[in-house]
């Protein structure tokens, strides 16, 4: 397992360097160079331009530039943003990263959890009246024009019903004169969620280890889940910053739901077809012949095997979530990496745009790695070989 992981990580690192090289190559393809973007004014004398090219290292040979570019990225030096001048690109992106991560993670987890459950059930009860409706809505969610869908969601739930705030990350009026820093508080929220999830997972592991009865296991797991959520809510309820925390949470909900819904459709359809395929296998027949209860055949025998193609699709969904993340952040004015990326593009702030794209590449890679690990955990053939 460790060998497998190390191998995958080495592969990912190589892939990432190739990706960075591709981005660099695209930069070279651009007509002119970055000094032209910086000095568009013809009144600036030639000497100043030559001086700038020297300072940026643009006069040096190609391969040297390339190596500087790659090594600088790994040292965390991505240059200075043009549009937010004195700020470093890495500082700008570092600020935005947690917000984007939360958007991605919660949307993906929400979509996969719900999509897997629904897909499992509609495959199990094939031919039910709800099946056709769910399939059609799943396909529609998968093919709907996403920016338009986000606009409609924002209008419907933010404006018409008024359940959620319209865009942005915090309510500026509430936060005026607040003793807390939004970014710090947000990091604390993330930390608390991570701690609770780790405790929950450890609890599940302990339950699986020390209880042989599947029914007891299921019940204990449900109890664990309820306790985890309750602990999280209670902790923030009695925290002095409840008001501010709930404001952030309230702003987070609509973007997450919107992005999650679209990913949900795809997962549900995929789980359904994977389930239908496994349900035709011989071992399902064996399980039935043994007289196992229905839920055990469904959850333990069929769903676990149907999970494999769904995990593979996690990788493909990731590409969607990253693309959709940009759209979501733009429409909901969610100040994450996607919005920064698009704003940087709009004003030709190439260092910032390239930095954001590279970090997005890192995110995609890490996502792939996680999907690989999940796959290995689920499939013993890979874990052991």
């Amino acid at each position: 397992m460790i060998k497998f992981l190390l191998g995958r990580m080495a592969q990912m690192l190589v892939l990432f360097v190739v990706f960075l090289s591709l981005v660099w190559f695209m930069l070279q393809l651009m007509p002119g160079d970055i000094s032209d973007t910086l000095i568009g004014n013809p009144d600036i004398p030639l000497s100043a331009r030559i001086d700038l090219r020297e300072r940026l290292g643009l006069d040096r040979p190609m391969h040297e530039q390339y190596f500087t570019y790659i090594t600088n990225f790994f040292r965390g030096e991505m240059g200075v943003s043009f549009s937010r001048y004195p700020q470093d690109v890495s500082a700008v992106l570092w600020n935005a990263l947690p917000r984007t991560l939360v958007l991605f993670l919660t949307a993906t987890i929400f979509a996969f959890w719900l999509g897997f459950k629904t897909g499992k059930l509609i495959a199990w009860r094939r031919g039910a009246k709800t099946e056709q409706g769910l399939i059609v809505s799943g396909i529609f969610l998968q093919t709907v024009f996403y920016p338009w869908f986000a606009i409609v969601m924002l209008w419907l739930f933010g404006f018409y019903f008024g359940w959620f705030p319209i865009g942005r990350f915090i309510d500026a009026r509430l936060w005026q004169g607040s003793p807390y820093n939004a970014n710090e508080l947000f990091s604390q929220m993330i930390l608390s969620v991570i701690i609770v999830s780790v405790v929950y997972l450890v609890g599940r592991y302990v339950v699986a280890r020390y209880s042989r009865n599947l029914l007891t296991q299921n019940r204990l797991n449900t109890v664990l889940g309820v306790v985890a959520v309750a602990a999280l809510v209670l902790f923030w309820w009695f925290h002095p910053a409840t008001e501010y925390v709930s404001d952030i949470a309230h702003h987070t909900m609509l973007p997450v739901i919107t992005l999650g819904l679209v990913a949900f459709g795809a997962t549900m359809l995929l789980t359904r077809s994977a389930m239908l395929e496994t349900l035709g296998e011989d071992y399902i027949l064996t399980a039935r012949a043994k007289g196992l209860p229905d839920w055990q055949i469904r959850d333990r025998h069929a769903a676990r095997n149907a999970m494999l193609p769904v995990t593979t699709a996690l990788v493909l969904a990731l590409a969607f979530v990253i693309g959709g993340g940009i759209v979501t952040e733009t429409i909901f004015s969610w100040p994450g990496m996607g919005l920064i990326f698009l704003q940087a593009i709009a004003v030709s702030d190439i260092p910032l745009a390239v930095g954001a794209l590279s970090i997005t590449g890192v995110l995609a890679l890490v996502g792939h790695l996680v999907a690989d690990v999940l796959y290995a955990v689920l499939d013993p053939r890979i874990r052991i070989a």
Binding site: F19, M26, F145, I151, W155, E277, I326, G338, T360, A364
Partner: protein
């Protein structure tokens, strides 16, 4: 040269074939006199009929086909309407202009909102030399749908006074065009790459598949956004870009596994033993057998391409005159983002058009999937 041609030339020479009666021989001669392309056409017709029969059972697939047909009519009807009924000055999707003009009388104190306008407001908004008692004509835009009158706008006008229906129809053509370019490029590249990787194996296979992994890793939309910031992207270049990226990526991997299963068939060995070169085997025997599956990916490719194009033009990053994405972009940049149902004709026709066209191609793709994979069919 194929086996059929050789047999034909032999029969034409009148060389008797051992073990056959005269009757069989003449019958055979009759058969071989039929040109090969006719036989191929007949076979094609027959397989098409079978496929069509299977496809027709799938109601959702048929719905998709009908929807695509409707969109095709929309695409075709626009130039006809422009040439006959619609006046280009009013109905041109890009430079047309029309407005619902309302007459207002300038007064000191407004008593009737519909016919009177405040002096201050009129001077500020329209013309500083106005005075009380003047009559002003104020165009309202975006105008709601009008079904009657001299110049009806069945879907209203956009914030710049252009006819929405005309824009909608005009953009259909662009969407079809882009989808076709992207899908054809994808399939051309992916079948070639897949077949080559499967046939040669070894280093070529490894290199091509690692490259496919890399492309899969690339976040497609952000990369295209960056590219569109650096270069001028038109419809054709965008279609080719999407085609190349997905053709070398995921589709190539799937088609390669299909090609692998064909490579081990005995007729491939037969073709090689008969002296077929590598390229002959790849393009005459492997590629035609991978094609059904690649048509499936063509359908999904169209869906992706249309959605990506609409997203990019929604951000205003493409150098194209008018598409569905730009229609939504126009509504957004003019401040109608949250107008919802009160200005429904700005957001809903374009958004639904993109969604339904993608939906239709996706449904057709799913229908074809069921034809190709019998396991998916309803039992």
């Amino acid at each position: 040269m194929t086996a059929g041609d050789q047999k034909a030339s032999k029969a034409d020479l009148g060389v008797p074939v051992a073990g056959q009666t005269t009757r069989e021989l003449t019958h055979g001669q009759h058969l071989t006199r039929v040109p090969l392309w006719q036989i191929r056409l007949r076979l094609l017709k027959r397989s098409f009929a079978t496929t069509w029969g299977l496809f027709r059972e799938n109601k959702m697939g048929m719905l998709g086909l009908v929807l695509i047909g409707l969109f095709a009519v929309m695409a075709v009807i626009h130039p006809i309407l422009m040439a006959t009924v619609w006046d280009p000055r009013v109905y041109d999707p890009i430079v047309g202009y029309d407005a619902v003009v309302t007459e207002f009388t300038v007064v000191e104190q407004v008593t009737d909102e519909a016919t009177e306008i405040d002096l201050q407001a009129a001077r500020l908004r329209l013309n500083p030399t106005l005075d009380v008692g003047d009559v002003v004509h104020v165009p309202t835009q975006p105008a709601p749908p009008t079904l009657t009158g001299e110049r009806p706008h069945y879907l209203g006008t956009d914030p710049q006074g252009r006819d929405i229906l005309s824009q909608l129809l005009f953009s259909t053509r662009a969407a079809f065009f882009l989808g076709a370019v992207a899908a054809i490029t994808t399939v051309l590249i992916a079948t070639t790459v897949g077949a080559i990787a499967a046939y040669f194996g070894g280093f070529i296979d490894g290199a091509l598949m690692r490259f496919a992994d890399l492309i899969l890793l690339m976040p497609l939309l952000p990369v295209l956004i960056l590219l569109s910031a650096m270069f001028e992207i038109t419809m054709v270049t965008l279609g080719i870009m999407i085609g190349v990226l997905s053709g070398f990526g995921g589709v190539a991997i799937v088609l390669k596994s299909q090609a692998l299963s064909i490579k081990v068939k005995s007729y491939i060995d037969a073709a090689r033993v008969a002296g077929g070169s590598d390229w002959h085997v790849i393009f005459r025997h492997i590629v035609p057998n991978v094609l059904p599956l690649s048509f499936l990916f063509m359908m999904f490719g169209v869906t992706d391409a249309i959605a990506i194009e609409a997203t990019l033009s929604f951000f205003g990053l493409l150098n194209v005159p008018m598409t569905w994405g730009i229609m939504i972009n126009t509504a957004q940049t003019n401040g109608y983002l949250l107008s919802g149902t009160s200005y429904w004709w700005l957001l809903f026709p374009a958004g639904l058009a993109v969604s339904f066209l993608c939906f239709a191609f996706f449904l057709v793709g799913r229908g074809m999937d069921e034809v190709i994979n019998p396991r998916l069919r309803a039992r």
